[in-house]
Symmetry: C2
Subunit: 201 residues, 2 copies
């Protein structure tokens, strides 16, 4: 039984790389892109290729950035703050920024410890983080990983690492629903979680 | 308040062209594509640009095709059949093909009549369809538009058009749930709908 033509099939297959997109959804997306949304499809193709070409990791905090050092790490006022907020993803940076309660810098793990998936300390940049601890300017790490089993494990691991360098570690608390994901929490709740943070040690 | 860097923001905005993708989903997609799925993102960008470059409309049935005449219209055995199945989208062609009950050719509206959205007969290619009726080889049209208000209206409109050319028109029936969409119906049900079709006139 014949299917669609090769270029359409290739597009449908390629669309399935997107999270939550199965075969039926990929089909609808492909037809819409190739029919009613050709301009949007063109923009998407260009935006993808451009972003892939210019976006990499910030050398200092590991977040996605078009520059070797992201705009937050490059901000000299923030660099004078002595607290570092550890998050799992760039969305979490945005979520914390929107609370307006944190003036320091970030470290973005781009994941979390997950031994079952083979994700160890080096995969989430803890070697880079340790080098940063060694610099000596950080006095406190705020552990803002997601309140999931893996996020908690990761936070504990980093707290232990911080302790070795005499750095105070606190975990955000209050209001972040257990099992939830940081980026879906409203600003107010996340703000409370920040102000109500507790020392781990 | 700062957001993400321009190339990432442009990608997030571009992803929202996809059906059902809101701001949060676009964010997650963008991070995943630029971090863990860079190869897949590269393939998606290439597949999009390639498909946009080579995929157009079949001159005969209007479906999406890489060739001026699609593989079904180009099939000389099928061209000898005297029935034409009218569907709304290329997915519907695939759905009908999967029943194995139809050997004729298709005409793909790439939409349906929708006066409120300003979609009239010419927008769904009814001028092209009429030219085809005028050729004289078609004896029956099978109206397989979706069983929605707009799909029914479109089917009636085409039945009237067919009548003027002395062409028998039938509407698929039985089992296709009212208000549902053809491409989500299982093969058996759609097969029943085909064999149980009733003449409109
Ligand atoms: Zn940075
Ligand atoms: Zn065709």
């Amino acid at each position: 039984m014949k299917k669609f033509s090769p270029a359409i099939t290739a597009l449908m297959d390629a669309l399935r790389v997107l999270p939550g997109v199965g075969q039926k959804t990929a089909q609808r997306m492909a037809f819409q892109l190739l029919d009613r949304q050709r301009d949007g499809a063109q923009r998407l193709g260009e935006a993808l290729q451009n972003a892939l070409a210019v976006v990499g990791r910030c050398e200092r905090c590991r977040t996605l950035s078009e520059h070797p050092i992201c705009y937050i790490c490059a901000d000299s006022e923030r660099a004078q703050e002595q607290s570092l907020c550890i998050v799992e993803s760039p969305s979490d940076v945005l979520a914390v920024e929107q609370t307006g309660q944190f003036q320091g810098q970030y470290f973005v793990l781009m994941g979390r410890l997950s031994p079952l998936d083979g994700i160890g300390p080096a995969d989430i940049g803890l070697d880079v983080l340790e080098a940063r601890f060694r610099e000596g300017s950080i006095q406190e790490v705020i552990l803002a990983t997601n309140p999931t089993l893996e996020g908690d494990t990761t936070a504990h691991f980093i707290a232990d690492l911080a302790k070795r360098y005499g750095i105070r570690a606190s975990r955000i608390a209050h209001g972040v629903p257990v099992g939830g994901e940081l980026e879906y929490v409203d600003h107010t709740t996340l703000g409370h979680a920040f102000s109500g943070r507790k020392n781990v040690f």
